[in-house]
Amino acid sequence: MEPVSSSRRASSLKSFFVSPYPQISVRVHPVVVFTILDSYVRKQESQVRSVGTLLGSIVEGNVVDVTDCYTVPHTERRESVKGVQKKEIIISGEYHLQMLSFKRKISQKEQVVGWFSTGSEITELHNLPHQYYSTGNAKFQIQHPLVSPVLLLVDTALTNTTLSIKAFLNVPTPIAFENLTSFHEIPSEVYTLKSDKTALQMLIQARSNAKKRGAAASAPALHQGFEVAFTKLVKLLKACTEYVEDVLDGKIEGDTELGRDLTKMLCSEPFFDVETFDAMCQNSLQDNLMVVYLSTLSRLQVAINQKISLAQQGAQQ
C-alpha cells in the first residue's frame, strides 16, 4: 500500500521541482497547523497574510520536526527604488525574540527551525523575511543537516479547495547574486502522534454532532468513543467482506498483496473455541462486576463517614 502523506497529493501550489540533494523532510504537528490557521483568522484586517516563527528540532537524522509556532506581527512596506515599485514584508524582530524567550522558559529543546507564511505561492515578498530568519539575529541555529531555515507555506485561501501545506528550503545557486534566493520544495507531511489522533477524532466527532444539532449545540462529544469506533469497525469489516466476495465472484481481479495482508491479519490472533472464549468473557465480566461492587462500597463508606462527621460537628456546637 502506498504511504499517504499530504505532500504527495495534487496541490495547487506553484512550486519548483522537488530538490533531490538535501535529504531533508519536514513533519508538521497538527497543533502547528491549527496555530497557523488561527493566526490567519486573527490577522490585521488590512493585511493579506500572517507570518510567524516555527519551532522544532531535528529528529531521526534528517527530519525537521516542527512542534510549535507563534505569530509575529509584520508590516508591508511599499518602496520605489529607482522608479521601480517594490513591496517588502518587514518582520518585527523584537517581537520574535521576545516570544522566543517566553517559549524558552517552557521548553528548552525547541529551536528556531524556520518560519511560516500563509498564501498559495512564494513571491519576491518572501525574500526579506527569509533572509532575516537565516541570520543569527533570529537565533536560527544551524543543526546539521539543516543549514538554512525552512519556509512553510499554508494555503489558507483553499485554492483548488484543498488546504495544502508545503515546505521549502532555500538552496544556494551557483550564480552568486546577492539577495537571490531560490526556493525548492522539500517533502512534508502532517505528522500526528497517537494522542493527537484521539483528539482529532474527537474533533471530527464534535463536528458531526454540531451538524446534527445545529451549530449552537456543538455538543459534549466526549466519552462517545466506543460508539464511533464500533460503527467504524463494522464499516471496515463490511468493506473487507465486500472486497473478498467481489474477488470470489470474479467481479474484480484479486490483489495478491492485499490477500496476503488479509490472511496475515486473520492469523495474527489465536483462535479459541467458543467455550474458552465464553469462559474468558465470563471471567472478565466477573472482574468488572467486582470492581463496580468495590467502588460502590467505597462510595458508601465515604457517605457514612460524612454523615458521622456532620453529626459530630452538630453535637459539638
Binding site: 472464549f277 465480566l285 462510595r299 460524612q306
Partner: protein, 298 residues
C-alpha cells in the same frame, strides 16, 4: 450585599464552556512535554457560555519558594505580546494536567478561588488526563469552585484563619462543580480536518483502540489509587477521633486540617466515578462480543 447577590446571579449564568480545537491540542502538547503542566486560558465570556480560544503555558513554579511574582510577571508580558497579534487577551481560567483524576488538592482549590474572586467569577479550571487519553478517550473536564466555598473562603479571610478551619457542615461534593464542556472547530480547522484526516484512512483508524476491552492496566492504576485514598481517609479519621477525645473542639487544632478529609472524600468519589464509567463501558463491550459469538455458534 446586593453586589454579592448580583455576583451569584452571574455565575449561575455559566452553562457551558466552549473550547477551541487549538486549545485542546496546545494543552495536549504541553502535557506531553512535561508532567504537571499548567498554563492560562484566554478567551471571551459571552453570556452563559465561556469561550476558550487561546492558551499559553506558564513555567514550572518553584514550589519551595512559593514565589508567584515571577509567574504573574510572565503571564502579564505574555498576554501583552499576544494582544499584539489579536488574540483574545482576557483571562478566563487556567489548565492543569493530572494523572487519573488525581487533581483535587488544596492548592488547586485556592488557586481557583483566586481566579473566581480576582479575575472573573466565570473562570474555570480545565483538567486534562493524558492517561485516559492513551486509552482513546479525550479526557478534558472543566470545573469551578462552588459559590459556597468561595463564601467560606471569604469568611475565613475575615477571621484571619486558614480555609480549613471554616468548613463545618460542608459536604465533599460541595467543593467543585463540573461545567459542561463542548469543543468548537473554527471553519478553517474543519477544512483541515476534512482534507487531512477524514480522507486519510491511516489517520482515522486509530480510534479502534477504544474497542480494546482489556485495558486492565488503567483499571489497576485506578483501583490502587482508590485504595490509597481509602487508607488516607481512614488515617485522617482516626487522627480526628484521637484529637476529639482529648479536646472538645478539634477544629481549633492546627494539627488537623478538615480540608484534607473533605478532599480525600471528594477524590474517592472521583475515582469511583471513573471506575464505574470505565467498567460500564467494558461490560458493554463484553456483552456485544459475547452475544455475537454465541449467536454465530447457534
Amino acid at each position: 450585599m446586593s453586589r454579592e447577590l448580583s455576583r451569584q446571579d452571574r455565575s449561575q449564568g455559566l452553562q457551558r464552556v466552549e473550547v477551541d480545537a487549538l486549545v485542546i491540542l496546545k494543552i495536549m502538547k504541553h502535557a506531553r512535554d512535561q508532567t504537571g503542566a499548567s498554563g492560562k486560558l484566554m478567551g471571551l465570556d459571552v453570556g452563559a457560555v465561556l469561550q476558550v480560544t487561546h492558551s499559553f503555558a506558564t513555567p514550572e513554579r518553584n514550589i519551595e519558594s512559593g514565589d508567584t511574582t515571577q509567574d504573574s510577571q510572565y503571564s502579564l508580558e505574555m498576554m501583552k505580546a499576544l494582544r499584539e497579534v489579536n488574540v483574545d487577551a482576557n483571562t478566563v481560567g487556567w489548565y492543569t494536567s493530572t494523572y487519573l483524576s488525581h487533581f483535587l488538592t488544596e492548592r488547586l482549590l485556592e488557586e481557583q478561588i483566586g481566579y473566581q474572586e480576582k479575575i472573573n467569577d466565570k473562570c474555570v479550571v480545565l483538567v486534562f488526563d493524558p492517561l485516559q487519553n492513551a486509552i482513546g478517550r479525550l479526557a478534558f473536564r472543566a470545573f469551578r469552585v462552588t459559590d459556597e466555598l468561595v463564601k467560606r473562603r471569604k469568611e475565613a479571610n475575615q477571621r484571619g484563619q486558614p480555609l480549613g478551619m471554616n468548613l463545618q457542615q460542608l459536604q465533599c461534593d460541595n467543593l467543585l462543580e463540573e461545567v459542561p464542556l463542548s469543543i468548537n472547530n473554527p471553519l478553517l480547522v474543519e477544512a483541515f480536518l476534512v482534507d487531512n484526516v477524514l480522507g486519510d484512512p491511516f489517520q482515522s483508524s486509530v480510534d479502534l483502540d477504544t474497542l480494546d476491552f482489556d485495558n486492565s492496566a488503567y483499571m489497576q492504576k485506578n483501583l490502587s489509587a482508590l485504595i490509597d485514598c481509602l487508607d488516607d481517609l481512614a488515617s485522617e479519621e482516626s487522627k480526628r477521633q484521637f484529637l476529639d477525645k482529648r479536646q472538645p473542639r478539634p477544629y481549633m487544632d492546627r494539627r488537623y486540617n478538615p480540608m484534607d478529609s473533605l478532599l480525600i472524600s471528594s477524590q474517592i468519589q472521583n475515582y469511583c466515578r471513573d471506575i464505574n464509567t470505565y467498567s460500564e463501558e467494558s461490560m458493554g463491550k463484553l456483552f456485544v462480543v459475547n452475544h455475537s459469538v454465541l449467536k454465530q455458534d447457534k
